[in-house]
């Protein structure tokens, strides 16, 4: 994929990618991907990143003391308003 025509083709395909991926299209079956190793690799990498991100963060539960602080601030605001 080094000549201009192929690079343009990659550029055109990659310009469509946000919409294709966002719409849930199976990009692996796209004709360009079938013939382009570079874009196949790109798609594989993006999927790897998305998959790794899904497993990255445990849901962080706020500590119990935080709610006590929130209640206190709300009461303080109500007190100063009333």
């Amino acid at each position: 994929m080094t000549d201009d025509a192929n690079e343009l083709s990659c550029a055109a395909f990659q310009a469509q990618l946000p919409e294709l991926i966002g719409a849930g299209v199976n990009t692996a079956e796209h004709p360009h991907v079938q013939s382009c190793e570079l874009c196949r690799t790109l798609l594989s990498d993006l999927e790897t990143i998305a998959e790794a991100a899904r497993q990255l963060f445990p849901i962080e539960e706020p500590p119990d003391k935080l709610w006590a602080q929130i209640e206190l601030r709300i009461r303080t605001e109500e007190g100063s308003a009333g």
């Binding site: 946000p18 919409e19 690799t41 990143i49 990255l56 605001e77």
Partner: protein, 154 residues
């Protein structure tokens, strides 16, 4: 989303205070969860503004400076990521994303929101949400390819 537990707790507190102040303005035009999440995201955006992200409009705010943008992906295929990604490297790369990219990446890829929900929360277009997410992933790929292990060790 802000990459810091103490700051996240402060923002959680601020979000609940805002909720208490503004609950009477909820008119039921959208689901309460969407309204509440938008309120919380706005609290985060306000914080990002305070930290120096100059926001004129959300779209402009989410558009990084030219040097922060991901490059086009016509590099050599042998630099591709190899299967598994180092968890710490990915975490660090996400922390280093421009704020707008990080916001959408976290909402979509980590918290699991759909583009239409993100667009409603951030009051941007669905196309903008898709585009920013794609750019965020490209930027992460670029970073991870350049520093596959070093990122996680810093």
């Amino acid at each position: 989303m802000v990459g810091n537990i103490a700051e996240a707790e402060d923002l959680t507190q601020e979000a609940f205070l805002q909720l208490h102040r503004k609950i009477a303005t909820f008119r039921g035009d959208s689901a309460f969860s969407t309204w509440l999440h938008r309120l919380a995201v706005n609290v985060v955006l306000m914080q990002l503004r305070k930290k120096g992200l100059s926001l004129i409009s959300l779209d402009e705010a989410m558009e990084p400076t030219p040097e922060e943008r991901p490059g086009r992906s016509f590099g050599a295929p042998d630099l591709a990521l190899s299967g598994a990604i180092d968890r710490l490297a990915l975490q660090k790369a996400i922390d280093d994303l421009p704020a707008g990219y990080r916001l959408i990446f976290v909402l979509h890829d980590i918290e699991g929101y759909e583009h239409n929900e993100i667009a409603a929360m951030l009051e941007c277009s669905i196309g903008n949400s898709k585009s920013q997410l794609h750019k965020a992933r490209l930027k992460l790929r670029e970073t991870l390819r350049m520093h596959p292990q070093e990122e996680g060790r810093r």
